[in-house]
């Protein structure tokens, strides 16, 4: 950033200010600063040009255009005089676009597709893969030594079977090799084979005029095996026909070739399913019941986590803030310690300590009883809250200590003179003032705990599993861990449904955030 950043925009310029500005300008913007600016932008532009080319080579027009436009905007903003706010805002805006808006947009897009297990690519890929997989080597067939011949673009397969040389191409079935016909063909060496390997490996030579007999194919350029294929792809009719059963599978718009009886060929492909994922979330009974119970627990968990850790933190802050207490520093350091512990590590250590038969808690504190801390649904809920309290109170303690210390002593003294007891002082003076600065933090803490994946997953993995639920969810699962399980656990990965859940979470957290920030505005009026 150059001299323009030193200018207060819209300031009224007195003569003295102008002189001061001139000095500042001379001091701050030598050729060095300009050169640095040009160098930085040059690096950025070079990277952008490279990125645009790479994107164009890979046919990603959209990425190329977006990159190009963004770079152009950045250049204009930084080379133009003035436009100070833009100079400040651009970096943040770009990161916001890339890391927030794009991610949310993409999640939103996935939520409207059936992207997931069995539907993880497009239709062309599915067709290709089905046709690949249907290639079945004729049982117990022997491989025949093969050579690949080429005449320009035409490939031919020359094989030796029972001492006889046979040849064929993709058009003409296998026939005894006639030297006259082979004229013009040359044998491909290994390097040539590699150079044309896609043609070579897709070359199929029918064994006879009857296609049902199968065809010869080689995947190593040396040995050919007879293959039969049971699926036939009719591109015009958009159907797959299973020749062994005669079943016709057609594209019925569900993202897979489907037979009349509803049987599907896997893999299918990813399609737009509209609001299906959302309607499934609320109409499919097995999903709905789990979604409801998990949502309820998520709210309880987030609320209780914030409430317990706030009150414990506040209590400790008040106690350690009292001048009469000795060794306050040591106590303060000790209470901050859990904060220095990474949450996931904390979760794992606690999981070990709460083990029913071998854990420290049961062995040492409860004299060797077998309390199922993590496997009983209610105790597991309690354990999760307990561990989260342990992890969370130091933060609240720090925040409250800071806020308490910033409240002027005179206020309490004045109240004392007016005859207020300590409880009244706290309730009527300190707490409201405290909340002014702490309330926004409580809201963000609520949002954080709403999505507190670490504690849940490291401690209980969401368990114990709910017997009655159709989804793989447990008694301590919160929405985000449920989303994780739907998307990344198990064989039936359903990215579409998981994205739909994510959108729901996003909406819920956003609404809570908006409402509560509106509420805290009321608190600010206290000032």
């Amino acid at each position: 950033m150059t001299m323009t950043t030193r200018q207060a925009p819209g300031a009224k310029h007195t003569a003295r200010q102008r002189t001061a500005e001139r000095f500042a300008r001379q001091a701050g913007t030598g050729a060095g600063a300009l050169l640095a600016k040009i160098a930085l932008l040059a690096v950025l532009d070079a990277t952008a040009v490279f990125a645009v080319f790479t994107a164009l080579v890979r046919d990603s027009i959209l990425i190329a255009v977006v990159t190009g436009v963004l770079t152009l905007v950045i250049n204009v903003v930084y080379f133009k005089r003035g436009w100070l706010p833009a100079k400040y805002l651009i970096p943040g805006t770009v990161f916001l676009l890339v890391f927030q808006v794009f991610v949310i947009g993409y999640t939103g897009y996935i939520a409207f597709t059936n992207y997931g297990s069995g539907h993880n690519s497009d239709k062309d890929d599915a067709v290709m893969s089905l046709l690949q997989a249907t290639q079945q080597r004729v049982p117990d067939s022997a491989g025949v030594p093969a050579r690949i011949l080429a005449d320009g673009d035409d490939l031919a397969l020359l094989v030796e079977r029972e001492g006889q040389l046979l040849w064929g191409t993709s058009e003409s079935p296998l026939a005894p090799a006639d030297p006259a016909e082979l004229e013009g063909y040359t044998e491909l060496g290994f390097a040539d084979l590699l150079a044309r390997q896609q043609e070579v490996t897709s070359l199929r030579v029918a064994l006879s005029e009857d296609p049902a007999e199968g065809s010869l194919r080689t995947t190593d350029g040396r040995t050919a095996y007879p293959y039969t294929s049971t699926l036939i792809w009719d591109e015009a009719a958009d159907t797959m026909t299973d020749t062994s059963t005669g079943t016709v599978y057609s594209d019925t718009g569900v993202g897979a070739f489907t037979a009349a009886n509803g049987q599907q060929l896997m893999p299918g492909w990813s399609i737009n399913v509209g609001f299906d994922n959302f309607t499934r979330a609320v109409s499919d009974p097995s999903i709905r019941t789990s979604l409801l119970s998990v949502t309820a627990w998520t709210f309880i968990f987030a609320f209780l986590s914030v409430a317990t850790s706030f009150f414990l933190g506040l209590f400790l802050a008040i106690v350690f803030n009292d001048q009469r207490m000795r060794g306050r520093k040591i106590y303060r350091v000790l209470s901050i310690l859990p904060y220095a512990f990474p949450a996931f590590l904390g979760g794992l250590v606690w999981a070990g300590m709460l083990n029913r038969d071998f854990g420290f808690v049961n062995q040492m504190l409860f004299g060797g009883t077998s309390i199922p801390w993590l496997t009983d649904p209610w105790l597991a809920k309690f354990s999760v809250l307990w561990v989260n309290l342990w992890l969370g109170f130091p933060y609240m303690f720090l925040v409250c200590t800071g806020a308490l210390q910033s409240i002027p002593e005179e206020l309490s003294e004045a109240a004392k003179l007016d005859g207020a007891g300590p409880l009244a002082i706290f309730r009527l003076i300190k707490l409201p003032l405290l909340l002014v600065s702490v309330a926004p933090l409580l809201i963000s803490s609520f949002a954080f705990n709403f999505n507190n994946f670490n504690v849940i997953y490291m401690l209980t993995e969401g368990g114990p599993r709910l017997e009655t639920s159709g989804l793989n969810v447990g008694a301590t699962d919160i929405l985000i861990s449920m989303v994780y399980k739907v998307a990344f656990v198990g064989a039936q990965r359903d990215y579409g449904l998981a994205s739909a859940f994510s959108i729901i979470i996003f909406v819920v957290v956003a609404i809570i955030g908006i409402i509560s920030f509106k509420q805290t505005k009321a608190l600010e009026d206290l000032n």
């Binding site: 290639q135 290994f190 029913r356 993995e461 599993r465 399980k485």
Partner: protein, 460 residues
């Protein structure tokens, strides 16, 4: 090391566990592989840094020989030998885990020299490979070849990201169980390189004789005066992988098999009479305290290593820790509890070819004529310490008693089902077992409910 069962691990959880002071006893082991597929049991292993260090030198010696020796016997000479002009611009991208990367570097170099095809080895975390492969192949940015575990196969095929690999004549070079495991729907989808399975580790100081059956094992265990008569990890969410040998001994496999020995997902055998017998046996053992859900992988290993039990049912990954602790080990077949042989699941590791590869010919050549060869498989065995899939390499590796013993147990094992329906089974299987062992539910009722849930999930 933990063997976290079912219900997933996040990557970071996994990472953490590795470094977690509470859980790692002695030498810090590395999780080597996880079947991400619906929490299929993961197979952690320990690896010797020493071995991987020494390996490069050995590999260099041995691999110089593996270029031209494997041409098919037929009339054409090996194309690999013909090409001196490395004119081809083809590059094979191969995903491989860190343990096996050094071995493959050597194989890749010799392949590059003889064929002119460059091999780009990309080292990935084994536990993330399946997920990444599933996502990247459709975008066209996936590799040509990836390392993987056979129980991923159903999921990979169902998502259309792998294609059949013609093993051709070389199929006979591999152990049958490995070839079967790498096949799906009658087609071979990969080149296997190693197998692994559970066996019974016995502390010979505490139990001098191999037990003939489960009762004998418990009797011997109680006689030894150790804290636990025998150990097997169960964990709060159940560990059907480790309990399967006992289940099999009651004649209750997961799926029935068709004429070719392939699993038939439509024939769920789990809930049969043998399964119910097994369920009541679980309840009995849970009541007697022989099976406990509080014993997870770490605790089981720790207690065995510290001599608190004469027996531990585990895989090769825990052998090193026990040996380091100075325990005199014997490796025995798993004793039968229900009368029939206690067959463990056999897991097979191998290489798959992407459905979207543009280098099928080079990939096939690399896999069948380099990776599949005795030399490379021997090298892979030396870093992984698992019985090689290649028969000749396996015979050679039998000099190592541990490998021979595990291999022998594995020869009587069954491949872990690789059908995608297996995911539904994992989802309900372990929790039900844990519930029965901990006495939370009536064994027969719970077992039947589980079988019903699985059937419903498969039918969906």
């Amino acid at each position: 090391m933990i063997c976290v069962t079912l219900e997933t691990l996040t990557f970071d959880r996994l990472l953490l566990i590795e470094f977690h002071p509470l859980f790692s006893g002695g030498a810090a082991p590395l999780v080597e592989s996880i079947s991400v597929l619906k929490g299929a049991p993961m197979k952690p292993t320990t690896r010797s840094l020493l071995a991987s260090g020494a390996l490069t030198a050995v590999a260099a010696l041995a691999l110089t020989a593996c270029g031209g020796s494997t041409a098919p016997a037929e009339s054409t000479s090996s194309p690999a030998q013909e090409s001196e002009a490395a004119a081809s611009s083809a590059t094979l991208t191969v995903w491989v885990d860190a343990n096996r990367a050094p071995v493959l570097t050597e194989a890749a170099k010799s392949f590059e020299e003889s064929s002119g095809v460059a091999v780009d080895l990309v080292t990935k975390d084994f536990s993330k490979i399946q997920e990444d492969f599933l996502r990247q192949v459709p975008t066209g940015k996936g590799p040509d070849i990836t390392i993987g575990a056979h129980d991923w196969l159903g999921n990979l095929v169902n998502n259309g990201v792998v294609q059949p690999v013609e093993l051709g004549e070389t199929a006979g070079d591999f152990q049958q169980v490995a070839v079967d495991a790498m096949s799906y729907d009658g087609k071979s989808y990969g080149v296997p390189y190693s197998t692994e399975n559970l066996a019974l580790l016995r502390n010979t100081d505490l139990a001098p004789e191999a037990p003939a059956d489960y009762e004998q094992m418990i009797a011997a265990g109680e006689e030894s005066g150790a804290e636990f008569p025998f150990l097997v990890q169960v964990s709060e969410t159940g560990d059907p992988f480790h309990l399967y040998p006992f289940q099999a001994s009651f004649g209750a496999p997961v799926f029935g098999t068709d004429a070719n020995g392939a699993y038939n997902a439509a024939d769920l055998a789990l809930g049969n009479a043998g399964g119910l017998e097994f369920a009541s046996w679980l309840a009995e053992q849970g009541e007697e305290g022989n099976l406990r859900t509080s014993i997870d992988a770490d605790i089981a290993k720790e207690k065995f290593v510290s001599g608190d039990s004469p027996f531990l049912i585990t895989g090769p990954w825990n052998v090193e820790a026990a040996q380091e602790a100075g325990i005199e080990l014997a490796i025995d077949p798993i004793p039968s509890a229900g009368g029939e042989p206690a067959q463990p699941f056999v897991g097979v590791q191998g290489f798959f070819v992407s459905s979207k590869t543009e280098n099928l010919l080079a990939a096939t050549e690399f896999l069948t004529n380099y990776i599949g060869t005795e030399q490379v498989q021997t090298k892979l065995y030396e870093v992984g310490n698992r019985p090689p899939a290649n028969n000749a390499a396996f015979e050679a590796a039998k000099d190592d008693e541990t490998i021979a013993a595990f291999g022998e147990v594995g020869e009587n094992g069954v491949p872990m089902p690789n059908v995608p329906e297996m995911a539904a089974v994992w989802e309900f299987w372990g929790v039900a077992e844990a519930d029965i062992i901990s006495g939370k539910a009536d064994p027969a009722e719970r077992w039947e409910q589980m079988a019903g849930d699985i059937e419903a999930a498969i039918g969906k």
